[in-house]
Amino acid sequence: MTGSATRVYALHLAVIVALFVIQFALPAYHYGNVTRIMLYAVFAIGYNILLGYTGLLSLGHALFFAAGAYGAGLTAHWWGFGPIAALSAGIGAALLVSLITGAIVYRTTGVAFLIVTLMLAQAAFLSTLYFNTITLGDQGIVLSLPPIALFGASLPLADPMVKYNVALVAFALALLLSLWLLRSPFGRVLIAVRENEARTRLLGYNTALYRFTALVISGTLSGLSGALYCLLFGYVGSSFASLQYSTLPLLWTLLGGSGVTLGPPLGAAITHYLIDISSSLTSSYMILVGVALVAITLWFPQGLAGWFRRWKRA
């Protein structure tokens, strides 16, 4: 774990630099796609802290994504918050929802955890429909935000370059944070919880507290993704809280490789293009996505990044 630290950080930094550089070469269409993928990647990284490292399978992460999105969208729409204030409100909302959710689910693991998270997320989804005077339901809220004022510069959110680089900064921060976290003593305990919780407890760790903390970090990162998604694309609606946004991060993580920091972002990218390409071929594109998922779980159970890592070692 020690000797390879420099190499691991170098690899992650290289990915970030590469994403910065390719923006000058990408055609407009892919430019927008990569922007979205980087935001999804933040969500995926957040999800992976829970599934990949702590071993908790959540089926309710739409809750945190939507908390971030609504936290930002509602304050911008109703109270006129600017982009930075709305982003902070989104992160704050996600943090709060994570803390409450954590307090409810922290005694559960395994199937019970899966069911409770699913239930809470569905309750939140239905609430966004029920309180449609505030949320405008599934029609959603379209935002028109003022530009970001930063160091005297004015950055309009409609500018694709602003979108791309804001997403890149968020992605870089999330990636490096998760990498640092998981290589810290704290991260080692999360892995121990995943591997053998009973043993970890008898090594002197309050494992429920570690699971709780992992959930809060995971939920807040997911909320950051949701808040930015809402602000950069100027929209938030009930669909952000729907089951789809709970299953997508699971799909990304399994596809890319759980427990590998770069796996879920890779999974997010592949899924995005898979849906993109298959939807241009057929309207029932989810069939192709499904086939791809089955194939990957059959032949690459470690995910693509996991497979690559193994292949490189062999």
Partner: protein, 244 residues
């Protein structure tokens, strides 16, 4: 000076009294062996000491404090460390990471540094624990690939890295090759210089050689207690172990 004292400790499972009204004291610095047939309640007794099992009645005092209902991780903080009967290392992690989990627990508690423990400090603690059990060369190996005897040693290294004041070993020599037993006893003796040891053991020879004092349990109760010489002569022990 008494380190550990149980009073009328009882645990029943349904109608079965696994441990029944056990009052038992452990002196600081001693090596105590616990013997008894299967089902005598040995593992349940130490389970109540380390917090894996909660008692139905009675109390446990450790180092002057009542720990009867304390959470297991807080007991570790107070110095009670348990190693499992069935080897329970993290099989997919390296030996170094296994020991680091224990070492960082002790270091973060005594020195802070929850998120950024200095690597050199951690490495030094891990190396020392691995060296103590003779596993230095295996440090980077995946724990699950080690032979069974070495996995047991790794368990001990994890225990040592927690700097226990009471180290509980549940059948430590079980599954060890006969040739590994003598070095293992040496290791325990060396460990006992800095900690109190309570161990459950089926191998009577090991118990008599290693323990300062032996507790004999049967059907949830203490049958006899004394020095190895006294215990060897005890009629009940003779009957149980020598088939008289």
């Amino acid at each position: 000076m008494t380190l550990l004292q149980t009073r009328n400790l009882t645990r029943h499972y349904g109608g079965v009294r696994a441990v029944n009204d056990v009052s038992f004291a452990l002196e600081r610095g001693e090596i105590r062996g616990v013997i008894g047939p299967n089902g005598a309640g040995k593992t349940t007794l130490v389970g109540m000491i380390c917090g894996r099992v909660l008692p139905s009645a009675g109390s446990v005092q450790f180092d002057g404090a009542d720990i009867t209902r304390m959470q297991p991780w807080n007991r570790v903080a107070r110095g009670i460390v348990y190693t499992f009967q069935i080897t329970s290392v993290f099989k997919r992690l390296t030996c170094r990471d296994n020991v680091a989990l224990a070492a960082q627990r002790h270091l973060t508690r005594t020195r802070g540094h929850r998120f950024a423990l200095p690597q050199a400090m951690l490495d030094a603690a891990v190396d020392a624990a691995l060296a103590a059990v003779g596993l230095t060369v295996e440090a980077e190996r995946i724990a699950g690939e080690l032979p069974y005897g070495h996995q047991r040693l790794l368990e001990i290294a994890m225990g040592l890295a927690l700097k226990p004041s009471l180290l509980i070993l549940d059948e430590p020599t079980q599954g060890l090759a006969p040739g590994d037993i003598v070095p293992f006893c040496d290791l325990i003796r060396k460990t006992a210089e800095s900690t109190t040891i309570l161990f459950i053991e089926h191998n009577l020879k090991v118990v008599l050689e290693l323990a300062d004092k032996v507790t004999v349990m049967d059907r949830g109760a203490i049958l006899a207690e004394g020095t190895p010489a006294e215990i060897e002569q005890h009629p009940a022990v003779q009957q149980a172990y020598l088939g008289d």
